[in-house]
């Protein structure tokens, strides 16, 4: 298929772009350091005495909050700043092929970063006998979570040629998606709002939907939630890009 060949070409270029610049290496090192720090020090991995990666996955929504927008902020703003957007969109490809190609490249990069946390998985298997099914579910959930943040960063990146603005706006949106279902916040809300209202708001939160994965449950509803958020954000990206050109 022609469409897939185009998407592949763009994905390859974009992913290559990460690794030819120092961005990828800085990102990977920081991601792994922070993941380790949260898991072992803040999460008390050893003291818990549990053969699970709960203390690892629990921190991912917070870890991704800053790191994913940092990886995604350049996606479109860089194209606009360099003027290569004009080059890309006058090629015989559709806008959505470009959007999907670039998104897949960055997502693949985030999944590689996530994959590099495998020593944690080895560790827990070395010390005990965890339920590896639960761990796999955790990884799937974490990948979906990073994809969702990334799609949002993609959208904010298309809004502006300024990467800093793109970063801040996407952090704010992602933070909202966390806080809407973050237990301390929802507990606070229930004091003056009706439980139904709080529940409705919480249903939009990535926390609510990520929880199942951490417990080892891959619920179709949760998957649909993440995938539809990704779809919505990428669709909006397309609308924004078209809007710039329509004038």
């Amino acid at each position: 298929m022609n469409a897939w060949a185009n998407i592949k070409a763009i994905t390859k270029r974009e992913l290559g772009g990460y690794f030819t610049s120092p961005v990828a290496y800085v990102f990977l090192v920081i991601f792994l350091l922070l993941a380790g720090f949260f898991t072992f020090t803040v999460g008390n991995f050893f003291e818990r005495g549990e053969a699970s990666l709960m203390s690892f996955f629990t921190w991912h929504p917070w870890l991704y909050l800053f790191l994913v927008p940092a990886a995604g902020m350049r996606l479109w703003s860089e194209e606009r700043r360099l003027g290569t957007l004009e080059l890309l969109l006058t090629m015989p490809i559709t806008t959505w092929q470009a959007i999907v190609g670039k998104f897949l490249a960055s997502w693949l990069f985030l999944i590689i970063a996530l994959g590099l946390t495998f020593p944690v998985w080895f560790t827990v298997n070395y010390f005990g006998s965890p339920d590896n099914g639960v761990i796999v579910a955790g990884y799937v959930g974490s990948a979906l979570l990073s994809g969702t943040y990334l799609a949002i960063s993609c959208m904010t990146s298309a809004m502006t040629r300024n990467q800093v603005i793109s970063f801040i706006v996407s952090v704010m949106i992602c933070l909202f998606l966390i806080l809407a279902g973050f237990t301390p916040v929802t507990d606070l809300l229930t004091r003056w709002a009706s439980p139904l209202f709080v529940q409705t708001i919480a249903a939009f939160s990535v926390m609510t939907h990520f929880e199942g994965f951490q417990r080892g449950v891959i619920d179709l509803r949760d998957v649909v939630f993440f995938v539809s958020l990704i779809g919505f954000a990428l669709f909006t990206t397309g609308v924004i890009i078209r809007g710039h050109r329509a004038g």
């Binding site: 185009n6 270029r13 030819t20 003027g83 080059l87 090629m91």
Partner: protein
């Protein structure tokens, strides 16, 4: 190959391109000139499918750019203004990527890259990243990208901007050569370039086409076109003026030093005409002036350009 009909492109209330129409056929090189902000780049961006038109129709090779963008884009090679390129890619990687998006695979892709590299003299920088290139090389890398699939139509937005005189000469030659079997549109600020490479010129000002013709036709619109410039010896300016008044509408003395007088005589009837110069030469022979130099002025494009594109207020104060 390219047909633009009543094209309008507006950004909010501002009409960057205001109802323009033109066509370009295979074998034509169309030069687009105009002041900054006249709408040259905007027009090109609509033709290449980057901007959707606000009104009007653009067809490329028979395909409507708005309705059938992919088929239209396949036929076009495009060099955007300022020659953008992916800063972190090597020239080779960049060209391979462009070839891949153009649907070239395997051997065909390798050959296309080699050909484009040769045409644009990029061998020496092939494995350098684009952000380390000088402006001239960066420009040529982007030009190479535009011709990688040997397109039937080339749209080049200021292809010689930032090049040194030798490179400019090369690129002009390249445009001229490719123009023999392609349809080319290019924009420029350099008027000699238009004369050197174009078969047709469009002057665009404030979103409208103000002149459209061959470089010769446009030059003929110049005030001095058809006038005869002569450098004579052994005659005074006053005498020259008086004698020429029989033949010429008016005579302008351009300079005068010692025995030499340089003058420009305007014919009674406009247009480039050999007879007028002949009459002057005969007159000079009869009067025994020694003519060091005599030639018919072709007209100057820069003069026509200024006359057409200066805002009315400025024009008024000049004349």
């Amino acid at each position: 190959m390219i047909k633009v009909e009543n094209l309008v492109k507006a950004f909010g209330p501002n009409r960057a391109v205001d109802d323009i129409s033109f066509g370009v056929e295979r074998g034509e090189v169309l030069g687009f000139i105009g002041p900054n902000g006249a709408g040259k780049s905007t027009t090109m961006r609509v033709v290449t499918g980057f901007y959707p038109p606000t009104a009007g129709r653009v067809t490329v090779g028979g395909f409507d750019v708005a309705e059938n963008p992919l088929s239209a884009k396949r036929l076009i090679g495009y060099l955007p203004e300022n020659a953008p390129g992916y800063a972190d890619m090597t020239v080779h990687g960049f060209l391979s990527f462009a070839a891949e998006l153009r649907g070239l695979r395997g051997d065909a892709r390798k050959k296309a890259v080699v050909r484009a590299v040769e045409t644009c003299f990029l061998d020496s920088v092939l494995y350098q990243t684009i952000d380390t290139l000088s402006k001239g090389y960066k420009h040529r890398a982007c030009l190479a990208q535009s011709i990688i699939h040997d397109p039937d139509i080339l749209i080049l937005d200021e292809p010689t901007d930032g090049l040194d005189p030798n490179q400019k000469h090369e690129v002009r030659g390249l445009i001229k050569r490719m123009g023999e079997h392609k349809a080319i549109v290019f924009s420029t600020h350099i008027l000699e370039e238009v004369e050197a490479a174009c078969t047709r010129v469009i002057i665009i000002d404030r979103g409208k086409i103000v002149a459209n013709g061959t470089p010769e036709e446009l030059k003929a619109r110049s005030e001095v076109a058809g006038a005869v410039r002569l450098k004579a010896c052994g005659v005074t300016a006053a005498e020259l003026n008086e004698k020429l008044s029989v033949l010429a509408a008016r005579t302008e003395i351009l300079s005068q030093d010692g025995a030499h007088v340089v003058a420009r005589a305007y014919p009674r009837e406009r247009g480039v005409n050999g007879a007028f110069a002949g009459h002057i030469a005969e007159l000079a022979q009869r009067e025994r002036w020694k003519l060091d130099e005599i030639h018919v002025e072709e007209g100057r494009l820069d003069e026509v350009f200024r006359a057409i594109t200066l805002p009315d207020t400025v024009k008024g104060s000049h004349s």
